[in-house]
């Protein structure tokens, strides 16, 4: 379709969409004007019977913990798919990372200044601390396994920004990432089995609840959060390193 034809179509469809949206927005209830029952029930049950103070995490790891299991394995399956697709193909080979010497083996970016490198290295421990905080405080404050997991994965990525991709690969080697991923995914499923054994239902809470607002409270939720955190950290780092391997290390055999 030519550009004028496309523009004409948009000139017709755009205002129509805008009108429909405006009518729709006009009919929305005011912000904070909530009449549902579900939210009130969640607030009461999750604080009263589970001692959790962050309702979103309580939803994810308690009320619909089984859905979270499904989501976790969705991520797991897609990561496995990406890894299978991106592994070195038959006419490609990875640069020999063992025997290279000097600056080339570090993949120092020509544009990476000392200031950028220094500030990236400062970021690494800060990101890891923030990620750990988000993961273990999931049931107390906003955050949780998913968000904390991505922040944790960003820690080693800061090394990449410093221009040290191979240092990152040593810091977070492939086997460790695969182990993290498997431990997180398997751990969550096993916590569910624990519920089956000790409480009679899959993923049902079987741990003491503690005092609301304390670090060790809300029963199973902190453990679920940690399992998801490990899984997400492993998943993101695996996918990134597969993509970056393809982009930075893998060359077609004919070129080398």
């Amino acid at each position: 379709m030519s550009r004028p034809a496309r523009l004409a179509l948009f000139a017709l469809a755009g205002p129509g969409l805008l009108a429909v949206l405006l009518v729709g927005f006009a009919g929305l209830p005011a912000f904070g004007d909530y009449h549902g029952v579900y939210g009130l029930v969640v607030d009461g049950v999750e604080l009263g019977e589970r001692h959790a103070t962050d309702m979103v995490t309580a939803l994810n790891f308690d009320l619909r913990a089984f859905d979270t299991l499904g989501e976790e394995y969705l991520l797991f399956a897609s990561v496995v798919g990406v890894v299978v697709l991106l592994r070195a193909l038959r006419d490609e080979r990875e640069e020999d990372t063992e025997h290279d010497t000097g600056a080339s083996s570090q993949h120092v970016f020509e544009g990476a200044s000392d200031a950028l490198r220094a500030s990236s290295l400062v970021l690494v421990p800060m990101l890891i601390a923030l990620g750990v905080y988000l993961v273990i405080h999931g049931a107390l404050t906003p955050g949780g396994g998913f968000q904390g997991g991505v922040v944790l994965a960003a820690g080693p990525i800061a090394l990449l920004v410093a221009g040290r991709y191979l240092a990152m690969k040593r810091f977070a080697p492939q086997w460790a990432l695969e182990a993290l991923e498997a431990l997180g995914a398997g751990g969550y499923a096993l916590l569910g089995v624990g519920g089956l054994v000790f409480a009679g239902d899959y993923l049902k809470n079987f741990l003491p609840l503690g005092i609301p607002g304390h670090l060790l409270s809300a029963g199973l939720m902190p453990l679920n959060s940690i399992a998801v955190g490990l899984e997400v950290t492993g998943a993101f780092l695996l996918v990134w390193s597969e993509f970056l391997d393809q982009a930075l290390l893998v060359r077609r055999a004919a070129e080398s």
């Binding site: 912000f31 979103v56 955050g143 991505v150 990525i157 990134w240 993509f243 982009a247």
Partner: protein, 87 residues
């Protein structure tokens, strides 16, 4: 609707439009990151900190890295093809 929410909403509309109008994929990755940041501010202004955290980690860490790596690989292939045609 408070002033903060209105400002955040306007920022989302602006950043979203800019992201669509930028045509170079490399620049688009960065405007997409900024767009994600404005969305994060909006979610925060609407008192949804959990969603805001998810949005900020996905839009500023998760997506750009994969897009950048993919872009680099594509450019590499294009360069190799150009060299072949020159010969």
């Amino acid at each position: 609707m408070s002033v903060v929410q209105a400002v955040a909403l306007a920022a989302v509309a602006f950043a979203g439009t800019v992201t669509v109008l930028v045509s170079d994929p490399l620049r688009q990755i960065f405007t997409l990151g900024v767009y994600g940041l404005t969305l994060t501010l909006l979610f925060f202004a609407l008192q949804a900190p959990d969603v805001a955290l998810s949005e900020i980690v996905v839009s500023t860490i998760g997506l750009p890295l994969i897009a950048l790596a993919a872009l680099r690989k594509i450019r590499e292939h294009e360069r190799a093809r150009e060299q072949e045609t020159e010969r």
